[in-house]
């Protein structure tokens, strides 16, 4: 609980930065609105528009109004559609969350076994191939891989990922079929670093005295690895996965764009293009909170893996 309360100042600080930087983006929402024909037809004057959107007030006041609103659960409204930001975010959050979770799962499923294998078979052909594979994954940007996955199957087999998004609640199978390819692309790029970390930590742990003890007890290789080595090796790997959370969200934005998945990323991208400040700040704040919560969970998970942390 104390840890949760400690998040509040961090979040406040983050909100200040988010609020300020968003307004530093070149270009102005007013200019964009006025340049659109239908709005121009309304013959709204520039001043009227500015006033209506509350952008005439000093920056500090705008910030206080915004924060006060958030404390009441009101994240403001979209400048364009007058939809509540909270509603938009809550609509999109589960989509990105699902993408992230599947990507993370895919990443770990690729990274952990290969990382362990690579360490156990250190300096063999298998290890070499695994390491080359991870470097390949590291080198290939996910937007390129995403594009290739879109383009080549459609050329070769006339197959392309579904772009009409189906909600998980409506048709789980169809939804998963749709999510799995983007999630794999996203997960693959994340797995590279995790794989290398797993290998390094595993090699480190396998040199420890307690591994020799385990072998001296007559345990077979599988028990030595799974029971004695893996848990020790995973402790730093979990930290790394936690640190990757922002990366995952950043990657999700790109991937959502390519596969037209209506998640937070796509929402953010549209909002930035339209300079829809309340949405941008709303998305950033949500993402910031998510990253902090993930890190908190990572910290707490140490206790499960490492008894030395638990009793402290």
């Amino acid at each position: 609980m104390r840890r949760l309360l400690a998040l509040i100042p961090t979040l406040l600080f983050a909100s200040l930065i988010v609020f300020a930087t968003v307004r530093m983006i070149p270009g102005d929402v007013i200019d964009m609105m006025l340049s659109q024909n239908d709005l121009a037809a309304d013959k709204l004057s520039r001043e009227q528009l500015v006033q209506a959107l509350g952008l005439d007030k000093p920056m500090a006041e705008q910030y206080l109004i915004w924060i006060a609103g958030i404390l009441k659960g009101d994240f403001g409204q979209s400048l364009w559609q007058s939809t509540p930001v909270l509603e938009l975010v809550l609509q999109r959050l589960p989509v990105t969350f699902e993408l992230g979770v599947i990507a993370l799962a895919v990443g770990l499923v690729i990274a952990l076994p290969i990382g362990v294998y690579s360490a156990v078979r250190q300096d063999t052909v298998g290890d070499f191939l695994a390491r080359s594979f991870s470097i390949l994954l590291l080198a290939v940007p996910s937007f390129w891989m995403g594009t290739m996955v879109m383009v080549f199957p459609s050329i070769w087999w006339g197959w392309s990922p579904e772009v009409n998004y189906v909600k998980f609640g409506d048709d789980p199978i169809q939804n998963l079929k749709q999510m799995i390819v983007p999630a794999m692309v996203l997960g693959a790029s994340l797995s590279a670093v995790t794989m290398r970390m797993t290998r390094t930590m595993m090699l480190e742990v396998l040199r420890q005295d307690y591994i020799r003890t385990a072998r001296a007890k007559g345990l077979n290789q599988r028990l030595v690895i799974m029971r004695h080595a893996l848990r020790n090796a995973l402790i730093p790997v979990i930290t790394l996965v936690g640190l990757q959370a922002p990366l995952l969200i950043g990657g999700a934005i790109v991937i959502e764009q390519i596969f037209v998945i209506p998640g937070m990323g796509l929402l953010l991208l549209e909002a930035v293009n339209q300079r829809d400040y309340p949405i941008i700040t709303g998305v950033f704040l949500t993402v910031g909170l998510a990253v902090m919560l993930i890190n908190l969970m990572v910290d707490l998970s140490y206790g499960l893996l490492d008894p030395r942390v638990r009793t402290r």
Binding site: D209, T213, R215, A216, K217, G218, H228, R231, P307
Partner: protein, 330 residues
Amino acid sequence: MTTAARPLLSVRNLVTRFGRGRGAVTAVDDVSFDVGVGETVAIVGESGSGKSVTALSILRLIPSPPGRIESGEILFEGRDLTKLSEREIMEIRGNRIAMIFQEPMSSLNPVLTVGLQVAEPINVHRRKPWDAALGTAKQLLGRVRMSDAESRLRAYPHQFSGGMRQRAMIAMALACEPRLIIADEPTTALDVTVQAQILDLLKDLAQGSRCSLILITHDLGVVARYADRVVVMYGGRVVEQAPARELYANPRHPYTRGLMASVPRLDGDTSKRLVPIDGQPPNLARLPAGCAFAPRCRQATDLCHRERPALAEIGPQHQTACWLETPAHV
């Protein structure tokens, strides 16, 4: 000093090397010794003398690569351990031969409970389910004189003191009632006050079950008190081997004598000054052509520097590898 017809363990001409080609190091060079049933044999030497590698070689726990047993035999209960398959040697490890390591701090897995680690050999070798194995583990913790065994089972190693951890290691070693326990400097990392407790415990428990003991140490005080027979190693070779009493009464190799002179003795003349052995332990990668101890030996002759002396019988069960003890010496 058993007179059993066949020793429990017989190491014959063991050679263990690390690395290949020109950089190769012979850590154990032509080492032979026997361990009788119920006997306690001490292997004594400085760090780098090859005593730990000898111990690890017996259970084939040498990290490989780079290490490997190059030649020799390790006969245990009539089988040559060097020729066993990985599966067969696994059945011996922790079951027929158990090992206790030097660092109780790092030799226990930090993320597993002590109970699980003590019960594990029983689970693996006796194929007992966990609850039964943990029940036995509890008894074992009692046997190593840990109070409150029930709650100790659920504790983690970091909650234990060094002495307690070593007790847990002993309990683990005893789990499957092995015929031989190899203890690699089991008390070096412990407080002096705890050392004797642990060794007494180990000796008692081993004797109680007619289990043989190989005690690896650099401490001659330990040897005098606990060992039946002593193997002195230097530079990867055995330089002297004798029953403990005989060795103390009549040390023949200059290195053994040096060791004795450098250790305080309460039973002897306490007014005598301790005499350190000059120089450094040898670099195994660049051993001299002759006797490895020659560069540090005050009595060394040309021959000592030139040719390596072989281990020779100089008395009943007493062998040494020194030119000064060989009649052919000129």
